[in-house]
């Protein structure tokens, strides 16, 4: 249904514009989620339900959550929003946007000149997608796998603990064995001196 396609497209375009213009990073990321949901809707209306659902699971459900996760930890408050506001002055964006508008009008003119092709919705079943992935494009899939593996190994290497940082209470505990050893030597020295002293007092010894 073309109506659904056009509605989803309009939502996608508006939300993507909002992503660029928000001052608060979390708000921008939320508009990005909406944009991905609209993209999923576009795929669905074009007859590719598998890609649509993957778009939601991977992009909206996992990747953006990770981005929000990072932004949350950066603790970007009102100061960042103010800074963004200062950076996003009209004089910085008016020039590029006018040039982009020129390109956009050219694109629209070209699109309208090209012979009319009715939008065809040809549903692609999931089985066909999987067979294509694992038959014709198997090398691409495996290369993507290699890349992801390299990413995982790299992340594991970077996040490896070289030095163990302990809380100060736990440090005392960790030092425990060492301290115990020190104490033991002290006690032994004391015992040896004490053992010597009584020996002087009492010269009688068992042999």
């Amino acid at each position: 249904m073309p109506v659904l396609f056009y509605i989803a497209s309009v939502v996608a375009i508006i939300s993507t514009l909002m992503v660029i213009t928000r001052y608060q990073p979390i708000h921008a990321l939320l508009y990005l989620v909406v944009s991905f949901l609209a993209m999923a809707m576009i795929f669905l209306s074009l007859g590719a339900p598998f890609v649509a659902i993957l778009e939601i699971i991977l992009y909206a459900g996992a990747i953006i959550v990770l981005l929000i996760f990072v932004v949350m930890m950066l603790n970007l408050g009102k100061d960042t929003a103010l800074q963004e506001r200062q950076w996003l002055q009209p004089k910085t964006w008016v020039g590029p946007s006018i040039l982009c508008l020129v390109l956009l009008t050219e694109l629209v003119i070209l699109l309208f000149r090209s012979p009319e092709v009715p939008m065809q919705v040809k549903p692609v079943p999931m089985r066909a997608v999987s067979i294509a992935l694992y038959k014709e494009y198997v090398i691409a899939v495996e290369l993507a796998g290699f890349l992801l593996m390299a990413g995982i190994v790299g992340a594991a290497h970077i996040s490896k603990h070289r030095k163990k940082h302990l809380h100060r209470f736990l440090q005392e505990e960790a030092k425990g064995p060492q301290r115990r050893a020190e104490k033991l030597t002290m006690i032994r020295e004391k015992e040896s001196t004490e053992a010597v002293l009584p020996a002087e007092k009492k010269p009688v010894k068992k042999t």
Binding site: Q24, I26, H27, L30, V33, P49, F50, I53, L54, I56, I57, A60, G61, A62, V65, L66, I68, F69, M72, M73, P125, M126
Partner: protein, 318 residues
């Protein structure tokens, strides 16, 4: 099916689900009390069942407070996201052969997509509250739910391989001779564990952990906004129980002396009770223990399950 029938089914499912979620308040408190040898709420109405009404009234009449330091709009939308995403998950569940809102070809994936969107309520609720404990709860919730989503999806893939379809009505019909719990026990167990983590119920309720984080991500919420988180949690339990019944225990199939909806209801209710029993009996693991078990034990097990299932299927094919 006419449009009117469809609308009636949607409204009926919504009505029953919301009532079940509200009724679970009473069920959970009574059952917890029974297992801990107490009485539980038994004053209002017969067997104390009117506690549901009293609780709801209390939530409605509480002051609906938005902290001045909070991000107002995100603070308001966060509780709505959890309820909406869980209710969307119920769309693909076949309650009986005829009562199903939408029997999608990508049904199972749709369920996974909706449950992955549920993370946003915790993350945004915790962040918008602008409070240390809430933020810690949100961080924990986000990492826990992202990690356990992976196993949740993978643990169901064995069933999908055996059925050859993501459609839930096909999956139910494939269990006519034998339930998938017999052939996929590992998948079922891991799905259930992941389901508990996904709904962040006890023992995996570390995002809210009232003993250390003072309710975590919803510490700043009051009134009906807190109620939405509450209802969302019970709806989540119901959803995971219903999925468990559908995927591994034959859904609405059963001997003919009871109608299909009664079988579905009985199976789902058994799992809901199991959720409550777990809450009554198990202590909460530490955060790093939870994550380590997930990535180092459950993920390899689930991959092994897929490998063995695939090998056996190929072998049986000849």
């Amino acid at each position: 099916m006419t449009v009117l029938q469809h609308v009636l089914i949607v409204l009926g499912v919504l009505f029953v689900l919301l009532n079940i979620a509200a009724g679970l308040i009473w069920v959970e408190r009574r059952m917890l009390a029974m297992w801990q040898e107490r009485l539980g709420p038994n004053r209002a109405g017969p067997f104390g069942i009117l506690i549901v009404l009293a609780d709801t009234l209390k939530l409605f009449f509480k002051e609906d407070w938005i902290p001045p330091f909070a991000d107002k709009w995100i603070f308001i939308t966060a509780p709505a996201i959890v309820v909406a995403s869980v209710l969307m998950g119920f769309v693909i569940i076949p309650f009986t052969p005829t009562i199903i809102v939408a029997d999608l070809n990508v049904g199972l994936l749709f369920f996974l997509a909706m449950s992955s969107l549920g993370v946003y309520s915790i993350v945004l609720g915790g962040w918008a509250s602008n409070n240390k404990y809430s933020l810690l709860g949100a961080l924990r919730g986000a990492s826990q739910m992202i990690a356990y989503e992976v196993f949740m999806g993978l643990s169901l893939m064995g069933v999908v391989m055996m059925t050859g379809s993501f459609k839930l009505s096909d999956i139910v019909m494939a269990q006519k001779n034998m339930w998938f719990i017999v052939t996929q026990p590992l998948g079922a167990i891991i799905f259930f564990i992941a389901g508990i983590a996904e709904t962040h119920r006890l023992p995996f309720d570390i995002p809210e952990a009232e003993s250390e984080l003072i309710a975590g991500y919803h510490a700043e919420y009051s009134g009906m906004k807190f109620g939405m988180f509450f209802i969302g949690e019970y709806l989540g339990i119901t959803l995971i129980s219903a999925m468990m019944a559908t995927m591994f225990f034959g859904g609405y199939l059963g001997p003919a002396f009871l109608p299909p909806w009664a079988w579905f209801f009985l199976k789902t209710f058994a799992f809901i009770l199991f959720f409550i029993l777990l809450r009554a009996s198990l202590p909460r693991p530490r955060y790093d223990q939870l994550m380590e078990t997930g990535w180092k034990v459950l993920l390899p097990l689930v991959l092994l399950n897929i490998l063995v299932t695939g090998a056996v299927l190929l072998w049986l094919k000849g």
